[in-house]
């Protein structure tokens, strides 16, 4: 780890498969770095202190809250944001299921839920409904009432296991 004269930190991080070398202030939050420096605005900020889960991203494949991390903590690691899961032309099966099964309404919480569900289904490909509920219990949605989100995760798990 190096810091430059203006007390900037030379950050090296891979985001969605692209390697970035960028000088950042040590206090820059990971969420702000992704949104403002890289323009990856799919990562949403809903509460700024880890309650709502909208800012969840994958750090070396694990779900983390990007509003609770400094960008420098991701130094030398790999980040995946919602933009890295799939594209409109080639959706990730979980994205596809949320689209088909009405797993969202306003969509502001959706990126954080998707990045919570990706590692969950990798670790537990055949979850029970109870396990699905536990898995997303740290993500807040104000629109859906959650049932359609659970249904979408079930659909995704069925599809991914075929």
């Amino acid at each position: 780890m190096k810091t430059t004269a203006q007390n900037l930190f030379d950050l090296s991080v891979t985001v969605n498969g692209t390697r970035y070398e960028q000088a950042v202030e040590p206090r820059t939050l990971l969420s702000d770095f992704l949104r403002h420096e890289l323009g990856l605005t799919g990562t949403h900020v809903g509460c700024e202190h880890g309650v709502c889960g909208a800012c969840t991203v994958l750090l070396n494949g694990e779900s983390v809250r990007s509003c609770l991390m400094f960008a420098v903590q991701a130094h030398g690691r790999e980040i995946t944001t919602v933009e890295g899961l799939g594209t409109i032309e080639k959706l990730h099966p979980i994205q596809e299921a949320f689209h088909e099964a009405h797993g969202l309404q306003c969509g502001f919480c959706t990126p954080g839920i998707l990045t919570t569900v990706v590692p969950f289904l990798e670790q537990n490909p055949h979850p029970s409904e109870e396990e699905i509920r536990e898995a997303i219990s740290g993500n807040v949605c104000r629109c859906t009432g959650y049932q359609h989100i659970v249904d979408a995760i079930k659909l995704a798990s069925d599809r991914m296991n075929k």
Binding site: H44, L91, H99, H102, G107, R142, Y146, H148
Partner: protein
């Protein structure tokens, strides 16, 4: 039809952008040369601002400008009446705009090159306040000797008073065999949409001040901004990017006017994003209402008289209190025929945050009282609560409390039957699990107007274009109605697709831009399917007729006008206030832990008359979402203030339901009794499932434990107190 679309559960086209992170909410927007804004909010709830010292802030690094009250050309705004200063402070020519009346008031704005520079500079503004007495209780504020919060608007803090009076109250109560009296308290609720307020403003290619910020009614936002800037409407343009939830909380302006002011002064793009704290302190809330009620019925189970008094805290400014409380007046009878009826509804200015629109718009509060009165009467009469409701249900031709019949068909009876059957109400057996766990069931009903009320000529604009040569190659729908997450853009496509017999997924939708579209009206009052559906249907039919006469392209505009309504008579409330209603009934089962006071809702059956489900999956999604939000209102959410200051100003202190807090099962029953004026019979839905849940849970708690709890929320502490287990 090959492309039959109405009644199909088509997926949402906007979901593709939302699952890939491509969708842009207002906080995601940027433009070259963009500056950043930070707002200085009032730090006390009632004070005169004697001086605002901005010198140090102006000299701070990166600062481009600091604006105060003296910079706002017409320093007032408000959706119903302009009673709130844009910026509070001396130097503007409107009277009393130097007075701060609540913590949501804004004092100054800083515009700087970066967000952190703006944040740094805003702390350097010094405000010299002269504190004024703080009124936090509407019952105190309505007394004649209370200090007046809006002296230029009369000599009382009572800003709303509606009276409804029908029949002979004395004779009515004399004929009653049983009478139930009660006092009820309903709380503030915070919208807590996941996306905090944000916006980007700039000058468009024609030099118009353009504001991209989520709202619920493009034209209302536009005229609020242009009024404050002293400009004609066409100098201001409002565009809606994706909107991260609204629920009524985006009806009133938040960041829009100050953004527009800064762009106008600086001629450069300006952006702002509110923090969660700024969002919670900066926008209005659901009205807390204190309700006294006295209802009487005969031994054979007929309502004969009901008398209510509702005192609502309007907070510091009107927002939509006059409409919310009008709606509370209408719904304060429940969906029942009561021959002798009297309601007095007051709205009172205080130094609390403004009370505003919130899903249900006065009905959840009034129905909490009405439905608990019904449950208590049924208990006193020894009658089944569903049966007692059927005995008294409104029907076609029976007059409502406003002295006129409801526009038909009135379907509350069908909803009560549907909820009762799905729940298997009559076969219910209380299961016992552990000694400290008590189970019970509860029933409640409700109704709600669809569309704007009280003499406003409801209208909604749409334009449809059909392009092609021999065959239709392209269909474009123009509509400004706000997609706040409810799925209205999907419904709009389905409506046009059905009329034109064209695949819904291929229809292009041009959305929410005040510069290119006519007035959509608000995404509120459960009105968008009904109003936009009729408008787009009309425009599509007209465009199709032109297409058939070989007009190429075939383009038609259409403005749907709903049936006329009338305002309340001042003394009796006599009126035809609404052109359409929707009806709902719910049955719930709860479990109460009498040792901890914890209430768990095991099951909710919600039977909602939607008239026609244009997209059944979206209807079910609205029901599930509304029930979880209503469950938050009834059981989880606990908004606290102290002397006008919000104590629960974060999502870590204002808790909203996670998936671990919600009813274990929600059963949606779609009742479809067509409204003759609705598109394909559709009524309105968005608010409906919210309405009866709190009183249904209260009735179930009573069934489980024997105690009535007349105040929301049913927190463990309140339940234990009701059970006599704590003081």
């Amino acid at each position: 039809m090959s492309n039959s679309s109405v009644g199909q559960s088509l997926p949402r086209p906007d979901a593709l952008g939302k699952v890939t992170g491509q969708t842009r909410f207002s906080g995601d927007l940027s433009r070259p040369g963009m500056l950043h804004m930070k707002i200085l909010f009032a730090d006390r709830p009632h004070a005169r601002v004697k001086h605002v010292e901005t010198g140090n802030a102006q000299a701070a690094p990166g600062v481009m400008a600091v604006f105060t009250a003296r910079d706002v050309p017409v320093n007032e705004y408000g959706l119903q009446i302009p009673d709130q200063p844009v910026l509070c402070g001396p130097g503007s020519d409107k009277p009393n705009t130097d007075i701060v009346r609540c913590m949501a008031d804004q004092i100054a704005v800083v515009v700087a090159r970066t967000e952190s520079e703006a944040e740094h500079a805003v702390k350097m503004i010094e405000v010299d306040y002269e504190d004024l007495p703080v009124l936090t209780d509407p019952l105190q504020a309505m007394k004649t000797d209370a200090p007046i919060l809006h002296p230029d608007r009369g000599d009382s803090n009572i800003c709303v008073h509606y009276k409804i009076h029908k029949g002979d109250m004395d004779a009515g109560f004399k004929s009653a065999d049983v009478i139930v009296e009660g006092e009820y308290h309903t709380p503030v609720q915070e919208h807590a949409y996941l996306q905090p307020e944000a916006g980007l403003a700039y000058l468009d290619e024609e030099g118009r001040i353009t504001v991209e910020a989520g709202g619920q009614w493009t034209n209302a936002d536009q005229s609020g901004i242009s009024h404050a800037l002293g400009m004609p409407d066409d100098r201001v343009r409002v565009i809606y990017p994706a909107i991260g939830g609204a629920f009524g909380g985006r009806e009133d302006l938040s960041v829009q006017i100050v953004l527009a002011l800064a762009v106008w002064k600086l001629q450069q793009p300006v952006k702002i994003i509110w923090s969660r704290r700024e969002s919670i302190v900066g926008h209005g809330k659901r009205h807390p209402i204190t309700i006294r009620a006295k209802w009487g019925a005969t031994r054979d189970g007929r309502l004969v008289a009901a008398e209510n008094e509702l005192i609502g805290d309007a907070g510091a400014y009107m927002y939509t209190s006059n409409k919310v409380l009008g709606n509370a007046a209408i719904t304060s009878s429940g969906p029942y025929f009561i021959p002798n009826f009297k309601t007095d509804v007051y709205g009172v200015y205080t130094n609390q945050l403004p009370s505003a629109a919130f899903r249900g718009f006065g009905a959840p509060q009034a129905l909490f009282m009405a439905e608990l009165q019904m449950n208590k009467l049924a208990e006193k009469l020894g009658m089944d609560p569903a049966e007692f409701r059927l005995n008294n249900a409104l029907q076609d031709g029976l007059t409502m409390n406003v002295g006129t019949p409801a526009p038909g068909p009135v379907s509350i009876i069908q909803c009560i039957h549907a909820a009762r059957e799905r729940f298997q109400w009559n076969k219910y057996r209380r299961r016992r699990t552990k000694p400290h766990i008590r189970r019970g069931r509860g029933f409640a009903a409700g109704f709600k107007n669809v569309g704007f009320s009280f003499g406003y000529q409801e209208n909604c604009w749409a334009k449809v274009e059909i392009h092609g040569d021999g065959d239709i190659e392209r269909v474009i729908v123009h509509h400004a109605g706000a997609e706040v997450g409810q799925g209205t853009h999907t419904v709009m496509r389905q409506v046009a697709a059905q009329v034109i017999d064209y695949p819904a997924e291929k229809i292009q939708l041009h959305t929410s831009d005040s510069a290119t579209q006519g007035n959509p009206g608000s995404a509120s009052a459960s009105r968008m399917t009904f109003m936009a559906g009729n408008a787009i249907k009309g425009a599509a039919e007209a465009a199709l007729a032109k297409w058939k006469t070989e007009e190429r392209p075939a383009i038609a505009e259409y403005k749907y006008l709903a049936p006329r309504t009338t305002p309340f008579d001042k003394e009796t409330g006599h009126s035809t206030p609404n052109f359409s209603y929707a009806y709902v009934a719910q049955a719930v089962e709860v479990e109460v832990d009498i040792e901890t006071g914890q209430v768990r809702v095991l099951r909710v059956v919600s039977a909602d008359d939607v008239g026609k489900a244009i997209n059944p999956d979206l209807v079910v999604a609205q029901i599930e979402g509304a029930i979880v939000q209503a469950h938050g209102y009834a059981v989880v959410e606990d908004y606290r203030t102290e002397n006008g200051r919000v104590l629960t100003d974060q999502l870590s202190t204002y808790l909203i339901p996670t998936i671990r807090d919600i009813p274990e099962k929600v059963d949606s029953v779609l009742v479809e009794v067509p409204d003759p004026n609705g598109p394909w019979g559709a009524r309105g839905l968005g608010e409906l499932p919210f309405l009866p849940l709190a009183p249904a849970i209260a009735a179930a708690i009573h069934d489980a434990t024997g105690v009535w709890i007349d105040e929301i929320p049913f927190t463990p502490e309140r339940v234990l107190r009701a059970l006599g287990r704590i003081r």
